[in-house]
Symmetry: D2
Subunit: 88 residues, 4 copies
C-alpha cells in the first residue's frame, strides 16, 4: 500500500463528486443542491490535504530530521501554514 493510499482514495472520491457537480450544472439542477455538493467536495479535499501533510511529516520531514537536515523542512511547513491560512 503506497503511503498515499488513503489520500488517493479521498481524491478519487472528490473527483467523482466534482464530475457529478459538473453534470448537475450542465443539467440545470437546483443551485442550492449544486452548492451543497461543491461544499461537500471542498470538505473531502480539506481531509485529503490533512492526510497528505500527515504522511509528509511522518516520512519526508522525519527522514530529513534524522539526517539533521531540518532548516528547509521547517521553512516549508511555515509556508504550508500560510497557504492554509489564506485559502481555507
Amino acid at each position: 500500500m503506497t503511503k498515499h493510499a488513503q489520500s488517493l482514495k479521498l481524491l478519487n472520491t472528490a473527483r467523482g463528486q466534482l464530475e457529478a457537480v459538473i453534470r448537475m450544472v450542465e443539467e440545470n439542477a437546483y443551485c442550492v443542491d449544486i452548492s451543497k455538493q461543491i461544499l461537500a467536495t471542498i470538505a473531502l479535499l480539506k481531509r485529503a490535504n490533512s492526510v497528505i501533510l500527515k504522511k509528509h511529516i511522518e516520512t519526508c520531514v522525519k527522514n530529513a530530521l534524522q539526517q539533521g537536515d531540518f532548516e528547509n523542512k521547517l521553512k516549508e511547513l511555515e509556508e504550508v501554514f500560510r497557504y492554509m491560512e489564506r485559502i481555507l
Copy 2:
C-alpha cells in the same frame, strides 16, 4: 450563454487541477507541492460556489420573490449559510 457558464468554466478548471493532483500523488511528487495544488483547487471551488449562489439569487430567488413566494427561498439561504460556516 447558460447562466452557469462562468461557474462551469471554474468547475472544469478545478477538475483538470484535481486530475493533475491525482497524477502527482500516483507519481509520488513532493507532498508540499501536492498540498499546494489541493489548496489551489479548493480556492477554485470556493469561487465557483460563490458564482453559483450569485446566479441563484439573481434568478431563482428573484423570480420566486416576484411571485411573492419567499418563505422557502429564505429558509434555503439560511441553510446555505450554515453549510458554508461548517465547511469553509
Copy 3:
C-alpha cells in the same frame, strides 16, 4: 429578548476566549495550546456570523420583501457570500 441575544452570547464568549488567548501569549504559554485557543475562537465567531445572518434573513430581508423592496437586499446577500468565500 433582543433578536441578537444568541449571537451576543456567542460574541461575549468569544471575547472572553480572546482575552484568555492574549493572557496565554503574555505568559508565554505553549504555542500549540495558543493556536488551538485561537482556532476555537474562530469557530465561535463563525457560529455567531451564521446566527447574525439567519436573523438578518428572518427580519430585515423578510420585512423588505413584504414591501416588495428586494433588489438591494439581494445585492447585499451576494456581497456577504463573496465576503465569506474570501475570508472563511
Copy 4:
C-alpha cells in the same frame, strides 16, 4: 521584543474589533455590517494563528530538533493541521 510581539499586536487589534462588533450588536447596527466586521475579525485571528505557528516552528520545534527530540513535536504539528482542517 518578545517572540510574540507581532501576534500580540494582531490579537489586541482583533480584541478591539470584537468589542466594536459587540457594541454594534447592542446598538442594533445593520446585520450585514456586523457580519462584515465579524469576518474581518476572523481574518485577523487567522493571521495571528499563522504568526504563532511560524514562531513555534522557528523556536520550540527547532530547539527540540537540535536536541534530537522530534517525535513529540511532529505529532503536535500533525494535530495542528487537523485542527486547522476542521475549523478553518
